[in-house]
């Protein structure tokens, strides 16, 4: 390394020195720095990437603004999708706000009408069937011993009131004393 500073080295390549008062001394280092300065150029990303990220940031910024305004309640659907879905090579983010799920009304509009009618009929039939079964279950006589005894007593009382002879019970019919 030579000890004498090269006059004009820093002035010729101002970015080689880190301060105005600094100068590179070694000619080999000056040459290496010159080559690095020329070779290490800034690289730009693709336009497509730049726009995609811009859209994502825009969406994130809008969400941040809504959150800051207490906008969580304003969202008609709180489900959030983390990533935009690309359709036909065009990111969804470029067409609409990708950070919210669509409202339920929008989802319903996308569902075919036949499916909606079929679903409604099926649920109606199910409800009617359940009602019939419940009605039948309620009208069915109870099989408990006390219920049977009560029904027999009720029938006997009715026949006595009508003047007819009471019908023998199962034990009398079988000849049991």
């Amino acid at each position: 390394m030579s000890q004498a500073p090269l006059p004009g080295a820093a002035a010729t390549h101002p970015s080689l020195a880190t301060r105005p008062s600094e100068t590179l001394l070694d000619p080999d280092l000056i040459e290496a720095a010159r080559i690095l300065h020329a070779a290490l150029v800034r690289v730009h990303p693709s336009f497509r990437f730049e726009e995609r990220l811009a859209n994502r940031l825009d969406a994130a910024a809008a969400r941040a603004r809504l959150d800051a305004e207490g906008g969580a309640e304003r969202l008609d659907d709180p489900i959030r999708f983390p990533r935009a879905i690309a359709v036909d090579g065009v990111p969804e983010a470029s067409r609409s706000a990708p950070w919210r799920a669509p409202a339920l009304a929008v989802v319903a509009a996308r569902v075919p009408r036949g499916a909606l009618l079929g679903g409604a009929i099926a649920s109606g039939v199910s409800l009617a069937g359940a009602a019939i079964l419940a009605q039948r279950w309620r009208s069915r006589p109870s099989r408990s011993v006390f219920a049977r005894a009560a029904r027999a007593a009720h029938r006997t009382a009715q026949r006595s009131a009508n003047g007819s002879r009471p019908r023998p019970g199962p034990a009398a019919r079988q000849g049991v004393a």
Partner: protein, 198 residues
Amino acid sequence: MFGRAKAEPERDPIRIDVDRAAVVAAKRQPQRFAALYRKYLPQVYSFAFYELGNHHDAEDVTERVFLSALKGLPGFEERSSVGSSFRVWLFRIARNAISNQRRTMARRREAPAALAEQLPAELGPDGVALRREERAEAWSAVARLPADRRRAVILRYVEEMSTAEIAAVMERSEGAVRVLLHRALKSVARDLDRRSDT
């Protein structure tokens, strides 16, 4: 490497953050962050690209950096030192994201891409002055540097940062950064000299 003229006092040229107005505006209205994004996208992307060696990983890292920056902007506080400027803060985020990406790449056992193959053939006015072979040799020499020296070189020659800014990004002292740059330049010079001999 750097001789210092005794007559000139130590002065730090950057005291006021040039992005102060944009940062204040973005804090008030997150959508104003777009100005900072447009300004720093090529810088962050270049940093990631030279560190990782391929466009795909550079895009991943760049995306994460800006989303993190937007999210963390309300917590960013500028102080009256170089180390707390928005640019330094952003590059610290980038440095961490790049380190994480490098760890992921190491786990995936990915071979580092050859930088020279990834860069465009035409580099514009600065690149024209340099022969194509010379450029390729320079990139190879940089790629062979140890990680901290390479990072210092990239911040110095790609991002054109001052020693103070590099020190703040790398969380080292300015003296340590000067040593890193000096050793990096010596390695590159030796490498280039060896190649020119063969």
